[in-house]
């Protein structure tokens, strides 16, 4: 579904992402973990076509992001870490806007909005302007808007930040269901317990470089993901010095 090959993104002289290669298959929830500034958000933004990159290739379902970004964007949905949505719109206007952009039919969108807004207990707030939404409500709206057009791949940057426990639980359920139906999810998180329970595969990145990737069992073995992550971080720091 998503194949990243030797991706390199530089800011000035600094490699924010350095020769990164990953492969995410259909039906997989793929966790992406790393410390602040490790290059997670840069990678996610490069995949969804927000950031241009210097080297390497990103393919979504075989289509190159660099060569045909519009076709790739049609297949994916992106939820950023801080959902800055159009505050001048109401929630329902925003959902219709997204549905229009992705060409979702009137009936289909109605059904999706009803289903996901109820799941996230947001139905009663849909007529409110987004300016009046809390961070969590914006996050819920961003999630609903990502699901409305039935993407094949969802990219999420810290999706659980700001969500209440019930909404976080609902999101996890939706993520599992989405992948069960053949979709793929690539998401970054700092909450290692969530990654450990939710992900089929995980990748650890530091300083823009991939330091470990594989199935959860391959990466953590008998230890906890937290222990492995901290150990890998330290090893990598020592190898650099």
């Amino acid at each position: 579904m998503l194949r990243i090959t030797n991706l390199t993104k530089t800011y000035g002289n600094k490699n924010a992402v350095d020769n990164l290669s990953l492969h995410i298959q259909k039906g997989e929830i793929f966790g992406f973990i790393g410390h602040n500034g490790a290059g997670k958000t840069t990678t996610l933004k490069a995949i969804c076509g927000i950031l241009q990159f210097e080297k390497g290739e990103i393919r979504i379902d075989g289509v190159s992001v660099a060569k045909d970004p519009i076709a790739c964007k049609k297949m994916l949905a992106y939820i950023p870490d801080n959902p800055d949505l159009y505050t001048f719109m109401t929630g329902i206007q925003y959902l219709h806007f997204v549905a229009d952009i992705y060409g979702v039919s009137a009936d289909k969108r109605q059904e999706k909005i009803r289903h996901f807004a109820d799941a996230f207990s947001l139905t009663q707030d849909l007529a409110q302007p987004i300016a009046a939404y809390s961070h969590g409500m914006k996050q819920k709206l961003a999630v609903i808007s990502a699901l409305i057009h039935e993407p094949k791949l969802i990219l999420m940057d810290e999706p659980f930040v700001g969500l209440d426990p019930k909404a976080a639980h609902t999101l996890k359920e939706i993520m599992r269901e989405f992948c069960k139906q053949g979709g793929a999810i690539f998401f970054s998180t700092h909450v290692l317990e969530v990654a450990e329970k939710l992900c089929d595969k995980v990748a650890i990145i530091k300083g823009g470089k991939l330091i470990k990737a594989g199935t959860m069992d391959e990466v953590k073995g008998d230890d906890s993901l937290e222990e492995v992550f901290l150990e890998l971080e330290n090893d990598h720091a020592e190898s650099l010095t």
């Binding site: 800055d84 952009i101 009803r114 009663q124 007529a127």
Partner: protein, 530 residues
């Protein structure tokens, strides 16, 4: 702490001019010089206007031996200029900055935050009042014998005038903030207030000649007018400016007192007003059968919602359409004047060209597309992550600019052409020219904003009002309009008006096509790199 806050406040103001918002890069020196030249030009034009007015007023008032009336009048004018220049920004700068939560969470006393924002507003008011008052002082001292005390008092008045402006605009800003938070139809109220203000302003400007002639010939009546208790402070200011110490003292006490009281009131209520939750009943969601639109229409309607839901933004970058409607209203109320022009022994084509230029100038006052990229701000990721091409986004943005301009201005053109009995073919040519200049201005604004975006604003008004791309687009579009009249008197008058307007339309169309070629080749890449 105050110093740090002041630095932040002024850095925000200056960054709109000195930085390329999207890339955090400082503008090139050449561009900064161009900014400076444009600013100086605007400043010089306004100072010149005030100088001409000061010159005639001062001579009249010195002749009748009432120089204080001169200062009182010019002071009132400076006060009005300052108020117009700052009143619409006050509410948003004082209470609606996006960094409110951040700053209020820091150990900063709300009073200090208020003070810093008031200082920024003071600087803005000072700029406007000085434009009107400094030429007045200079003209007075070049026509009278120099003495130190009046000069000191005049300098003091120059410094205190913005304080009065600040007090009034802050009180109005506070009142609007409190009212709009409590009343449900806040956008409607703001729109009504803005239109009422604008109509009042238009009436005053259109009658300015009569007002000034009356003032010049009735110095005594003007002096009596300043006896009005509401204007007593300006009378004292006038007396103070001519060296009357008691008048000066009363003026200082009144202005400083009003400012101190305003600051006190605002500092007590600042935290509550800035964090006031908008009341009013929560809108209830009722599921309705929805319609689907194409992606370009969706972006077009998104632009409509953005601008139409914020009257302040629309008023600042879409004033042309409002002026156009007022212009039509004035024409309808002056049908006799229209008939006189229609039957005057002049070539109809000349009337048609002049009318077209006026309408082009009005259309060019709409600078919506020049802030349309900047206004995306932190939301830019949305469009960038969606499956729409940059060209579709640009198309929707310029289409909104064109629709907002042409929907009111095309009927206005027809109406005035009918009133002026302009032949049908000339009317058609005038409308085509209007359409072409609107498309040119929409594209030019987009190009300028792509080259000079400001995506890092903390208040939308900064992206619109203090944006260099908006200023540049406005001057450039006005310049294009002036070229039409310049070209007419240079060579166009030797042609039929229909032919001249057709040539102008073709030229505008060709330039627009060239600009779109640039947008397609380079603009899309610029957008992708933002």
């Amino acid at each position: 702490m105050l110093k740090a806050l002041l630095k932040k406040q002024f850095a925000e103001l200056l960054s709109a001019f000195a930085f390329r918002g999207g890339e955090k890069k400082r503008r090139k020196t050449g561009m900064l010089v161009l900014v400076g030249i444009l600013m100086l030009y605007a400043l010089a034009a306004m100072v010149y206007l005030m100088w001409v007015l000061s010159d005639s007023m001062c001579q009249v008032m010195l002749t009748i031996g009432k120089p204080w009336v001169y200062f009182a009048f010019m002071g009132t004018l400076a006060f009005g200029t300052g108020l117009i220049g700052s009143v619409f920004m006050t509410k948003s700068i004082l209470y609606e900055a996006k960094d409110n939560d951040l700053l209020l969470s820091m150990p900063i006393p709300p009073k200090a935050l208020l003070l810093v924002r008031m200082i920024a507003l003071y600087a803005m008011a000072f700029l406007f009042t000085s434009i009107a008052f400094i030429p007045c002082i200079v003209r007075y001292f070049t026509l009278t014998t120099f003495s130190v005390l009046p000069l000191i008092f005049c300098i003091l008045i120059t410094l205190l005038l913005p304080l009065g402006v600040l007090a009034v605009s802050c009180l109005l800003g506070w009142l609007i903030a409190v009212l709009t938070a409590r009343l449900p139809a806040k956008n409607l109220i703001t729109t009504v207030l803005l239109i009422a203000f604008f109509i009042g302003y238009a009436v005053l400007v259109s009658n300015m000649n009569e007002v000034l002639t009356f003032i010049m010939t009735n110095g005594e009546a003007l002096a009596q007018g300043f006896e009005n208790p509401l204007l007593i402070v300006f009378r004292q200011m006038g007396l103070g400016a001519t060296g009357d110490s008691i008048g000066m003292l009363i003026f200082v006490l009144l202005f400083a007192g009003v400012f101190a009281l305003t600051y006190l009131l605002l500092s007590v209520t600042f935290l509550k007003t800035a964090t006031m939750k908008k009341s009013g009943a929560k809108a209830k969601y009722v599921e309705k059968q929805s319609k689907s639109r194409s992606a370009v229409w969706a972006i077009f309607f998104k632009e409509c919602t953005r601008y139409l839901k914020n009257p302040m933004i629309l008023f600042n970058c879409g004033i042309g359409s409002v002026i156009g409607v007022v212009f039509a209203g004035v024409a309808l109320f002056n049908t006799e004047l229209c008939a006189t022009i229609a039957h005057a022994p002049i070539y109809k084509g000349e009337v048609a060209v002049i009318l077209t230029v006026i309408l082009c100038f009005i259309a060019a006052s709409n600078i919506i597309s020049a802030s349309s990229i900047s206004l995306e701000g932190q939301n830019l990721w949305l469009l960038r992550s969606m499956p729409v091409s940059a060209m579709e986004i640009f198309g929707a943005k310029t289409a909104f600019h064109a629709a907002y301009t042409l929907i009111p201005l095309a009927p206005v053109t027809v109406l005035i052409c009918v009133l002026l009995e302009i032949p049908v073919l000339m009317t058609v040519c005038a409308i085509i020219t209007l359409i072409c200049i609107t498309l040119l201005c929409a594209t030019l604004g987009l190009v300028i904003n792509l080259k000079m975006p400001n995506l890092k604003w903390t208040n939308e008004m900064v992206a619109v009002k203090q944006s260099f791309s908006a200023v540049l687009a406005m001057f450039a579009c006005w310049g294009v309009s002036l070229l039409v009249i310049g070209g007419y008197f240079w060579f166009g008058k030797y042609l039929y008006a229909e032919l001249y307007l057709t040539l102008v339309s073709c030229l505008f169309f060709a330039v627009t096509a060239l600009l779109w070629w640039w947008v397609y080749k380079r603009g899309t890449r610029v957008f992708e790199s933002l």
